[in-house]
Amino acid sequence: MLMKKILMASAVSLMGTTAALACSFENAVPVKSLSAGFEAWKSATDAMAECGNFEAELDQEFRTKQPAAFAANPSLYQIGGVSNGTITPLLNEGTIRPLDDLVEKYGQNLSPNQLIRIDGQIMAIAMMVNTQHMMYRKDIFDDLGLAAPATYDDVLAAAAAIKDAGVVDYPLGATLKSGWNIAQDFNNMFLGFGGTFYNDDSTPAVNSEAGVKALETMKALTEYMDPEYLVSDSTYVQQQFQQGKIAMANLWASRGGAMDDDNESQVVGQVYASAAPLAMDGGAPATTLWWDGIVIAKNISDEEADAAFRVAMEGLDTEMVQAANDDAIWLISGYQPNRLAEGAIATAMASPAPISYPSTSQMGLMHTALGNELPAFFTGERDAEATLAAVEDAYTTAAKEAGVLQ
């Protein structure tokens, strides 16, 4: 017995040494990263750690920490994990550095698709794309003779059929937690109805026909959800899927890997993905496109930036993708799309295609205003138009205070 343990221990330590060899160079400069905490980031930062002297901070609240941490001199982190939504404050405050020369030196394996150029300069390296799209229980849909819903009318019809059949607790799940999540859900639907958030002069434009339709569609969907939907975030919806409590949801592609994780999921192999449904005929799928990737801080020495970029490249290589293929929809070469990636690919390839999340100062203010004011519509305190008027008021106040509106 003891012998077995010793053997096991030495086997584990041997695995450790081979893993350390997986990095092509020995990193001597201490490097720290701050990023979101979902599976793809865990895989990428674990691969970066193989180079040594690397410390990763995975935090879902990274968006509130990052601007201040990168504005410090020297910056508290060398590598930042960002998405197209959270790169804006770093760009605005000029706390991240252009990567053109580093890409030239160490980025031979990057595809042109990964280089995020802003005004011609490479400011970030994308590693994956993400979008909210339709995930559904194929077994339940097949049993009831339903096809993957292509429009929100289909979603409502399918939800009604599933409710009548009584096979799950609630037919639908949704990321409607008040704050950022509910605002993003509204953004998807609002864009699906062809809305624009603000005019050229930065005045708000959500109190429109598209806005009212978006709210009414969302309200109709909530009839088929867990009544506590206003506290339900992505993790909660993921767990509802894993525990077989819901049959479909418009959920982030990055959550797909968890559906097939047999340590957590009771529905391995049953969840399929299709394109985000259309809100109206001839419109784009009601969703937005996102990318996640890395940036390098400006307030660090060139030597540190060099080491940080090399470590990051090791984390974003083909070897990592092959080991963690199902964690995300990778942009890195070597990625094999699985059945759960089909939905995101169909969404992005749709014509007209959904836009990528419009990250601007105005949009940040609008997102906050929506997140704070929309719940009143769902609790019944205000009707749709009064709610959207309240959103516009909140946006106008905040925009004047932030100086983007005179």
Binding site: L115, S359, T397, G403
Partner: protein, 339 residues
Amino acid sequence: MKFRIFAAFVGPSVFLMLLFIAAPLVSVFLQSFQITQPIVESQEVETCTPGFLTQTCVTEVKTVPVLDENGEAMTRTDWVGLQSYRNVLQLDQVRAAISSGNWGDIWAIDFWKALRFTLMFTLITLPLVIGVGLAIALVVNNLSAAVKGQVIFISLLPFIITPVIGSLSIYWLFVGDGILTSILESWLNRDIAMFAQAWTIELLMYFYRVWHVAPFAFVIFYAGLQTVNQDTLESAIIDGASRFDRLRYVVIPHLMPLIIFISLIHLMDAYRVFEEIVGFRSQAHVISLQWLTYDFLVPDDSGNRSISRASASAMLTMIGIVILLILPLRRTWRDHKGS
């Protein structure tokens, strides 16, 4: 004690209080009358985002801050008087609600919604905390010495739990698929959703706060009970006073200064209710004044935050606490002067 010795002892703490309490307060007070904005310009920016095979690039006009030669965003600070207070209070909307006759609309405006809950929370939990604390103290005081120690220890447990952890525990117990909800559902054979409407969330919040703070009141009252004059109690018994009469005419008057003390502390604490809102994720249904201040301070994805409105909201919270404390403080002052 000589003044110099007194000053040497008190000096360091006065200095720290000025540095960490008075100075931030003054700075928040000043900031509530200022607005600091970045100097922005409109710029055409070309942004490229990855698709599955190729990138799509769009050129759009973005509002970006102007950077100075050190690479830092330039800002401008203006004195704006009471503008931030107006933005927080939204009095024009209150007036519109009153003139249109829909009084209920007032409670949908953030500040007033938060004020309604904060006041109700403070005033409902206050008598409950004092009542429950006193009840536990009386029970423990009458227990036999053999079990007293253990009972005191167990009664104190809720108070030593970190408030955020405590409220999260309650949330996890009662959320849709929580243990207690599941048990209740199978027992009552119906679907229960405690976090789907405001009144159940508020009930849980009152319950949680009383559960959490009552041990504090208990400890104070229990100490007070040890100093009740036994001669007075015995003569009351000889005079034929019942157990309730003794409590009403001897014990409670003796404990009155402690009741005032606990009220003061509880009013200050409860008016700053915050952990329950975050722990219960109740922002959609119930918000408090302290949460409102926090929400103004949280930066959004583009890095905007409302420091001025947060300062104004913090000042209004402080004014609210001072108003609430006037009554009990006046009483203490009178007692102090009387003695």
